[in-house]
Symmetry: C4
Subunit: 235 residues, 4 copies
């Protein structure tokens, strides 16, 4: 019997949301789920198709990404997750989707401009994109460096990971996170929707500018600010 049964179950369920929400085909993408107290996390095994994957296949690794429990190899992106968990206090799950529009913006190496309230309901900033990695980083600990690129992009854009729970890794694709696995996957779904809407917006009006700051703040604050009045939680 494993002491991580529940964590594996939670992690598996979150991973299964990836194909269900059409966020990736085949074996692409992965979700991890942290047990902050035990300082381990569960993650998808590498290269396993979603429709063949069972809860017991989830791999338990420590905060350096070393396997603690499980027969399979963890996702090759495990060191990226490990860096993020070590660097971003308060997040308990990370999702890496391969959805078409989010990947396209990442491949285009462009942040997604904030064009509307759907975007502002979730974050008050353009969705950032990392720099393209240097050859030295690529040839070094590539997956760890991917994590560092994410941290650096947040820093350079002066963004908190608690306010901005989604990012694009240049030439690669989206990473999202949150306080729960549900939230991390939800952010991947929202990011794909925002990416699609922004792409069509520019097709319809190539000269469109970012939404005005007052409107950005209004929508973000009514949902996330001190006097937030959106949803059921604050009342």
């Amino acid at each position: 019997m494993t002491k991580y049964k529940e964590l594996k179950e939670v992690c598996w369920r979150a991973n299964m949301e990836i194909p269900k929400n059409k966020l990736a085909i085949s074996t692409f993408g992965n979700v991890s789920s942290l047990d902050a107290k035990e300082r381990i996390f569960a993650i998808k095994p590498s290269g396993v198709p979603y429709d063949e994957m069972k809860p017991a296949d989830m791999v338990i690794v420590d905060m350096d990404g070393n396997r603690v429990e499980g027969k399979m190899n963890p996702s090759s992106d495990t060191p990226t997750h490990a860096v993020l968990y070590r660097s971003l206090p308060g997040i308990c799950s990370i999702a890496h989707a391969h959805s078409a529009y989010a990947v396209a913006w990442a491949q285009a190496c462009r942040p997604i401009p904030i064009y509307g309230t759907t975007h502002a309901d979730h974050l008050a900033h353009d969705i950032p994109v990392t720099k393209v990695m240097s050859d030295k980083m690529i040839k070094g600990q590539y997956e760890e460096e991917t994590g560092h690129q994410i941290i650096n992009a947040l820093k350079e854009n002066n963004l908190s990971h608690l306010d901005v729970e989604m990012i694009l890794v240049a030439c690669h694709g989206p990473f999202t996170w949150g306080a729960t696995p549900d939230r991390a996957v939800y952010n991947a779904v929202v990011l794909e929707e925002i990416a699609k809407m922004a792409c069509i917006t520019e097709q319809v009006n190539p000269d469109i500018k970012r939404m005005k700051a007052t409107l950005i703040n209004k929508h973000y604050q009514r949902k996330h600010g001190k006097g937030a009045y959106y949803g059921q939680i604050n009342k």
Copy 2:
């Protein structure tokens, strides 16, 4: 026992058409349903996912948007609905979708030009878009002002809300309405389809002009004019 049981049921059913018709993901969007006699309306609770929502969760509010019955907070867009019900006599339901193509045109701050008969079968005008809201309005009663922006856009374009049952709120998304909840949601479905077709039309021919007026009038009148001969109702 509630006296609004049937109204809540009707409102819930209309809201459930939103995800069924892929007009929004997650908790986005909302539909309300008016009881004109009782001067109250039912509306979706704020921030509740469609797949967890029950008829009893619908919130009953008065014509100023104050809660009359229900445990949950009503949609944060409730004041917008209230303004529209107070200002637009004859409408009994309002739908606010977050579908990708309609949102994209709204974010692009462009009215949708009338390019074909699919559009003209439903309205004889470009689908209007509101002005971007002033900072003063945004910082004031934002959701009420959204309703006023809609009313103003109809006025400035010299349009009746009985002829034009759909509009785009700039930087936000579509609002549609009608004499019944079925009609309000139907209009949201049609608007998304028109928005998609218009986007592709411009991709295929960037120089295309609006359809000629005689053809617009012919299609609109054969369905909605005095001698209408489309459908089963008039014969």
Copy 3:
């Protein structure tokens, strides 16, 4: 008891392929099925949603489009179908879809250039588009004139309706036909696919030219020519 029971059944089944193949939403589009011997045809009733429609709801009309049997009004496009049946010998079914890409090309008033073998497997020509109708025709017998526009477009492009079983009506949408209802609907499905592929092709390469004539002829002839060797029929 009706003597047209089987014809209505066949017509209903063909109509139900429209929503099944996502060729139209709501009540849009229609399919008719001819009994050439009896000189009548069955057609979808006007403005009835597909999911509420029963075989018995199909309307039987004569070759001038006058109702012969059925309680409902026939499709408002009935006179268009009648003109086509009277003018195009050998066709036994007509489908009018409202699918997004075919409608977009029709709204863009452009014929669909023949860019590949998927297209050439079905016809050896660009998919023609009618001229925009004159005001006089629109204000006259509009639906009949729509049929005449189709006939004229075939003539002006020197095309036989037996070789080219699909056309775009400018500002409106696609009409397809064939020797059977299955074939008419199949052509609507194929037209939508060709329309989508051609749109993306131009996005990927705005300077692309029509496929060379030898390749067009090869693909068309191997399927439809004298020595055709595609499929199971000729052997």
Copy 4:
């Protein structure tokens, strides 16, 4: 009783993945499966709709494409498959899809530039496109020549069919292959996804360049190189 029962079953199952993965409509596309020992292969019958097709309908042909067993005509593309099996040692299955984005790039006569890691996870090169066939080849043994065009494109681009398991035939569509039928179809799914992502990438950033070589090599090598650490196979 046929000695090829299992091969037909395998081939049929692989063909059924085509409509399941939306890689073609109607009867379009085909998959073949080789028995390298017996020097025969099974292939889809020509022009048969997927939803009517049974395992016993698969046709067994020899290495020149001549029918060995089966009542139906084999796919008209059979000689293309035969040429590929004779020329590309080690492949045991070929899939020919008609998916919209891959066909669009083929019709646009452009190789798909390598823009991201989704692409580099599968091949370290742009996805090649053949030259447009000469009139002489078209008028000769067209389907065989299609095979030769593929072989030539691989040669001219200095590519091994073991490294690059997918190609676009100009004006036609994608051909993919692999050591197993699962792999051949998988490559068709991946190619469509890459084609879609590349198209959107260019829409979002028309000036985007190919991903840098170090990143291409990193992703390709971590999955396919000597020290590969992606997936479950090597550990």
